[in-house]
């Protein structure tokens, strides 16, 4: 197998785990946006994080299923897709380190909502003793 001098976008980046500047896991690379300019090489511009973009990758049936589940749950909240510029990448290894605060990303809304409305109501979830 030939050695690759560079980053393989499918093998090394797509679906890789992401950590914010505090070392907190903030999801995975659900999609990668590239900028196409005539006469220039494609530039890796943006990391996209969020269920909506992942569903689109799986197929239109998944987008429809996701929409149907949202409608069934009557939830009108947009849990959002985060767009992080690729220039915020600080390191690519087992995980990708980003120079962002994960708590401010729109894609973290679902996690916060689950924490507030479900996980927070489970006895012991606040770390209290028996």
């Amino acid at each position: 197998m030939e050695a690759m001098d560079g980053v393989q976008l499918v093998h090394d980046v797509l679906d890789a785990c992401l950590c914010d500047r505090n070392g907190r896991r903030i999801g995975r690379v659900d999609a990668l946006a590239l900028t196409l300019t005539e006469g220039k090489p494609l530039r890796v511009s943006t990391i996209l994080i969020g269920g909506a973009v992942r569903a689109e990758r799986v197929g239109t049936w998944m987008v429809r299923l996701r929409g149907a589940i949202s409608a069934m749950l009557h939830h009108d909240r947009d849990f959002g897709v985060s767009r992080v510029p690729f220039s915020a990448v600080r390191g690519i290894g087992g995980t990708i380190e980003l120079d962002v605060d994960g708590a401010t990303l729109p894609s973290s809304r679902l996690e916060r909502w689950l924490g507030d409305h479900i996980i927070g109501h489970i006895p012991g979830s606040q770390g209290e003793n028996k």
Partner: protein
């Protein structure tokens, strides 16, 4: 003028050469850091395109592609490393080489 496209929209696309002949499907993009005054960017320097020979018709899906790559030499699987200058993405859904397949094969011979 610049426009945005998603990596997932390119992966798996059939690439044709300048004469319209099938070359293979895009499997991987290799990016390298490009340094400039205002910082640095990752730019795509190579497209890796897999040709599946007789198994071509079965390799529309990712799973089938991975399977065929595993048994590569048996079914005539080949992978081409194509420099970005050779790839015409003016229609990203129908990528095209601005060279012929023969030129590509000549370049790929070790």
């Amino acid at each position: 003028m610049s426009r945005e496209l998603l990596l997932s929209h390119l992966i798996g696309r059939q690439v044709r050469d300048a004469d319209g002949l099938k070359v293979g499907r895009i499997e991987e993009l290799l990016a390298r850091i490009e340094l400039h005054e205002h910082g640095n960017d990752y730019v795509v320097v190579e497209f890796h395109v897999g040709a599946y020979g007789l198994m071509e018709a079965l390799t529309g899906g990712v799973f089938a592609q991975k399977l065929v790559q595993r048994i590569g030499s048996v079914v005539g699987y080949r992978r081409f490393r194509i420099p970005w200058e050779w790839m015409d993405l003016s229609d990203p859904l129908h990528p095209r080489l601005n060279h012929t397949r023969a030129e590509l094969e000549a370049r790929s011979v070790p």
